[in-house]
């Protein structure tokens, strides 16, 4: 079965996020001055062949642990859905 996987990598709360801060300042300059707490991370999408959704999740968790996420600075959220293809 093919699964669509989305990994959202977010900066840990304790880690400064200058990208989010820059976006927040730009929004304030555009008069969106009620926007606060902007944090920017990244989204990584891929498809994955696995026998069942639990397997797709465990493989994705391993991928995150080995490469996609550095736990000193980041954490991740994983979303998995069955591919339409």
């Amino acid at each position: 079965m093919e699964y669509k996987v989305q990994v959202i990598v977010k900066p840990l709360d304790a880690i400064a996020n200058p990208e989010g801060k820059a976006v927040e300042r730009a929004l304030a300059a555009l008069s969106f001055d009620r926007v606060t707490k902007v944090r920017a991370g990244k989204v990584i999408n891929f498809t994955l062949e696995a026998d069942h959704p639990e397997k797709a999740r465990s493989i994705t968790e391993e991928i995150c642990q080995k490469l996609l996420v550095n736990p000193v600075m980041e954490y991740s959220e994983i979303q998995i859905s069955q591919s339409g293809n």
Partner: protein
Amino acid sequence: MDPIIKIVTFPGTNCEYDVLKQLNFLGADAELIWHQESDLGSCSGIVLPGGFAHGDYLRPGAIARFSPIMEQVIKFAESGGPVIGICNGFQVLTECGLLPGALSKNDRMRFICKTVSCVVKTSGSVLTSAAVAGQTLHLPINHGEGNYVCDEETLKYLRENNLAVLTYTEDVNGSVEQIAGISNKAGNVVGLMPHPERATDPLLGSTDGQVLLRSFIEASK
């Protein structure tokens, strides 16, 4: 063949020739080694130089740590061989687990390229053995992601073992405790954000990098 210093070159590395030239200038035999190699050959010391290995994609050093040569670099380091990582090389050393913590984006949203003052905190590492604790060095930095971060437990470990070998004299990038470079507990693996290879000639504005490279050359004999 006598063992010589190997300078690891990844796609995107751009300081390898500066390091090579300065090591040669200071009397050491050194040569470049491509990241796809799986054999270090006759090796007395390793430099992971600055640049943007694998484009710095994902995170600086995140992909470089899986280059074939890194398995040998880790083995060499774990057997006590001298290894230094400069700038991007420091990022590779944290990503591969040879050094604790990580280098995150500079605070204040800017890439920093300037000469800064650093203090040598200990001479107990392969990069600082010829220096004196308390000595101030003027060294260039050139990075966007040099903000050293780690958890409380790691910070305690660094403090207790005196592993922050080099600190900035002022807050330049947000690094915890103004850390510019750290070593492992054995002192044979050191990572630093400043570029000692760019501070070896009066024409470059400082020769303070020499004492660090000399320490490393001595450790690599």
